[in-house]
């Protein structure tokens, strides 16, 4: 039973990596786990989701009404991207980069659209990772 879930967890991680949800940074994080912090990755992911929520909220607010401060949007997205990349959220990161490109192009519609995708990836990864951690435990 336990063996099976472990195998499932490993399988899920494999697919998350294969599908591009995660990148090798996630593996590096797992490698950091030791006796002192056996659930380090989970801890970090939780931290990421609690902390990055404010980025998402702020960006959402900034996208609502004009005038649009693209520099600020870009900056916020930069922070969010940095945070996302630190846990290895590859897809989120990629979407963030695209958002920044729209920012540079001062394309507010593009920003809005891509931000929906960012949020979607962000949420999808959250559920996937939650499942993963549950399996692993």
């Amino acid at each position: 039973m336990e063996n099976q879930t472990k195998r499932q967890a490993a399988y899920m991680k494999r697919s998350l990596l294969d599908q591009g949800y995660l990148d090798e940074q996630f593996i590096h994080l797992e490698e950091l786990q030791d006796d002192a912090n056996p659930n380090f990755v989970e801890e970090v992911v939780k931290l990421y989701y609690t902390d990055s929520a404010r980025y998402v909220r702020n960006i959402e607010l900034a996208l609502e009404n004009g005038p649009y401060d693209f520099a600020r949007l870009d900056n916020m997205m930069y922070q969010f991207k940095g945070s996302s990349s630190s846990i290895g959220a590859r897809r989120v990161k990629r979407q963030c980069s695209q958002f920044q490109e729209y920012c540079n192009a001062k394309n507010i519609e593009g920003c809005r659209n891509i931000f929906q995708e960012v949020k979607q990836e962000y949420d999808t990864l959250k559920t996937k990772l939650e499942t993963y951690f549950q399996m692993e435990r």
């Binding site: 994080l29 950091l32 002192a36 912090n37 380090f40 931290l47 990421y48 991207k81 940095g82 990349s85």
Partner: protein
């Protein structure tokens, strides 16, 4: 006539007595200062050791904090104290975990301002700083700038932004590394190397430090604590600040370190920006503390605060310029360097420093494998026990440095020199002259050592006059004009006061006075002294020429080029800066040249403006040079340390000299009558030994003409 002579004689004796006492006092003053600082430093070290941050959940806390342990713990680099600054909690947590897995001791800060205040409060609490670039409260580069300015810790920048210009910005701001996010643990495993690298720089300093203090005679310092990694950068920094204290007056940085009572000025970002604005407005090379202060118009800020900050800022700029070689504009800051110091210094210090800086060149010179024989010769000139001791001290000073220069030859050389000292008779003047003539190096060495001995002086005199002659022949009218225009009388009395050069001059003055035994001797001596002064400069510079080119030229040529060099200040500086910019390990050789060059320049104003104000001017210029020397050699805050070391060395050297003069001078005066004969003899000898015809004639002319001129 005789009465006048006796009056002069007694006056001179008194003068030298006074000088001797004066220098003795100063010597002890500095020795005491040094002792005090050492004590204080020890207490500081203890304090550092006790300020140990215990981090929650630290997997390991094997620390190699300073405390006082002198060797590298086996588990190095475990316990490296890292301050991580990142506004993103996720990144911060990951970094913390990674660093802990590397067995470092981690302190986190999610705000740059907080990190900065932590660093300010506990200067010796960290070995390295890792900072994010993008932070809302303070730009990472700003933090980097402040850390560079204030504590000189290695700083690693990190950012998800891997664009070239951002990385370049990190480099130009003095970051020792730039990590791209997400940071890998492999990259963090290696960060200790930056601490070591920084530390290595300071070892050199410390070495200076120790060697000088050993030379100081009274106190032996403990052997180099090379491997005291923990307090590494900080300790060196602290030491340097300690030294700085001797040179400049109180500054803000020291306030929190030492016992001074002045309120500490915290250079906030805004304040610093105001400062930078003011500096930019004035131009970096023209910015002096007073004007900056006026421009900034901040109540409560003192000129000293600004001065010290300006100094740090310049150091910081220079560090940048060392990294990015294209920033020529920054170099100007070197030229203006003295402002930071001279304001609070006494003119005496200035003069001292000048001499010091000169001595400071010695080790560098030896490093550059200039003929050590020069030293030996100079020592032989002062074939008296006291100077001999000095000489040895000098060597002991050098030896520790050899480790860095990895030169065994120099060791041998120094040994040889010592032998030389023993083997060479005291009456060396003619040969010395020849030596001097062949290459001015020994002369310079002698100058540095400040063995202002009578005979030597005679030799010098002749050499000088001869040189002058040659320079005249070389149509160096400018310098001649300078010499001629010297107000004769002003010469001797201010010179009597302080600088070693001046001492030499004084000694010479008397010599000549006694020789002619006529009423007009005053004029004569004055002329001589002025000549000497002027000459002393070209000689030094010629040395630099020698050291850099390592080619023997004709004396005249040397003089020529040297004087030119002295006239053209900017070129000299440019050279210097270029050298400095290279920032390579082989700074030994080029820097010798360059530093000499600068010292010459600083000498110049002093020599040309021979007037009471000369003292002050010399002081300033010498300080300038001092700072530059430090810069060139150390390239960091160590500058002060270095010059401080110089300070000590000269003191120890000067003392014997002056005392010697006190004791022996009268006797020599007793032989005054013989002096003229002696002089003549020397001249003759010199002539005989000289193989260069050109010089010979000149010399002859010069040597005899003064005697002829005597209105007997």
């Amino acid at each position: 006539m005789y009465q006048l002579r006796y009056v002069l004689l007694t006056f001179k004796i008194l003068l030298f007595l006074f000088l001797g006492i004066f220098f003795f006092n100063i010597f002890y003053f500095y020795v005491n200062l040094l002792k005090k600082f050492q004590k204080f430093e020890e207490s500081m070290n203890l304090g550092v050791g006790s300020v140990v941050k215990t981090m929650s959940g630290a997997s390991c806390s094997v620390s190699w904090k300073s405390g006082g342990s002198d060797k590298v713990p086996d588990q190095f680099p475990a316990g490296l104290r890292v301050l991580v600054v990142d506004d993103d909690p996720t990144c911060l947590r990951i970094l913390e975990k990674m660093l802990r897995n590397c067995h470092y001791e981690v302190t986190k800060s999610n705000r740059a301002e907080l990190a900065l205040s932590m660093l300010r409060e506990n200067r010796n609490g960290f070995d390295i700083v890792i900072s994010d670039v993008h932070m809302p409260d303070m730009d990472g580069f700003k933090l980097l700038e402040h850390v560079g300015l204030e504590m000189d810790l290695p700083v690693i920048m990190m950012s998800a932004d891997d664009s070239k210009d951002v990385v370049m910005k990190g480099v130009t701001h003095g970051a020792c590394d730039y990590l791209i996010k997400p940071v890998r643990i492999e990259a963090l495993k290696n960060i200790w190397q930056h601490v070591i690298r920084k530390k290595k720089h300071e070892w050199k300093d410390k070495d200076f430090d120790q060697s000088t203090s050993v030379e100081d005679g009274d106190q032996q310092q403990k052997p180099p604590e090379d491997v005291d990694y923990s307090s590494s950068a900080n300790e060196g920094n602290w030491k340097s600040s300690k030294r700085r204290k001797e040179e400049e007056d109180e500054t803000e940085e020291r306030d929190d370190l030492s016992t001074s009572k002045k309120p500490r000025v915290v250079w906030s970002v805004e304040l610093h920006q105001q400062f930078v604005q003011a500096v930019n407005q004035l131009g970096i090379d023209k910015a002096v503390p007073k004007k900056i202060l006026e421009l900034m118009n901040v109540p409560g800020l003192t000129r000293e605060n600004v001065a010290s900050h300006l100094q740090k800022y310049r150091l910081y700029l220079r560090r940048l310029s060392g990294v990015s070689q294209h920033q020529n504009g920054l170099n100007n800051s070197f030229m203006g360097h003295p402002e930071a110091t001279y304001g609070t210094m006494t003119s005496f210090n200035g003069l001292e420093l000048q001499a010091l800086a000169a001595t400071g060149q010695l080790p560098a010179q030896s490093l550059a494998t200039l003929q050590a024989a020069a030293l030996g010769r100079s020592a032989t000139k002062s074939a008296i026990s006291m100077p001999l001791v000095d000489q040895r001290n000098l060597f002991s000073f050098e030896n520790p440095k050899l480790r860095f220069s990895e030169g065994q030859q120099q060791l041998n050389n120094s040994n040889k020199q010592i032998n030389l000292l023993h083997g060479i008779p005291t009456t060396m003047e003619p040969k010395q002259l020849a030596d001097l003539h062949q290459s001015s190096q020994p002369f310079v060495a002698m100058n540095m050592q400040g063995h202002a001995r009578m005979q030597q002086n005679n030799a010098l005199l002749m050499h000088m006059s001869q040189q002058q002659q040659s320079s005249r022949a070389q149509m160096l009218n400018e310098t001649n004009n300078g010499q001629v225009s010297l107000p004769p009388l002003s010469m001797s009395q201010p010179a009597a006061v302080l600088s070693r050069n001046n001492i030499v001059d004084n000694v010479r003055g008397p010599v000549y006075n006694s020789v002619p035994q006529t009423s007009s001797m005053v004029d004569f001596s004055l002329n001589q002294t002025t000549e000497l002064q002027n000459n002393s400069f070209p000689l030094v510079s010629s040395n630099s020429g020698m050291s850099t080119l390592t080619s023997k030229r004709l004396l005249q040529e040397e003089v020529n080029s040297d004087i030119k060099g002295s006239r053209g200040f900017p070129p000299g500086y440019d050279i210097f800066e270029e050298l400095h910019q290279q920032k390579t390990q082989d700074w030994g050789l080029p820097n010798v040249g360059s530093t000499f060059g600068t010292s010459d320049h600083s000498n110049m104003p002093g020599t040309l403006d021979v007037s009471p104000s000369m003292l002050v001017q010399q002081g300033i210029s010498s300080m300038k040079k001092n700072g530059q020397n430090g810069n060139s050699l150390m390239g960091g805050p160590q500058l002060n340390l270095f010059s401080g070391g110089n300070l000590l060395t000269v003191k120890s050297e000067q003392l014997p000299d002056t005392s010697y003069q006190n004791t022996f001078f009268p006797e020599q005066f007793g032989q005054d009558d013989l002096m003229s004969a002696l002089l003549k003899q020397h001249f003759m000898n010199f002539q005989q030994q000289e193989s260069v015809g050109q010089v010979e004639t000149e010399f002859g002319f010069d040597g005899y003409s003064p005697l002829d001129n005597l209105p007997v």
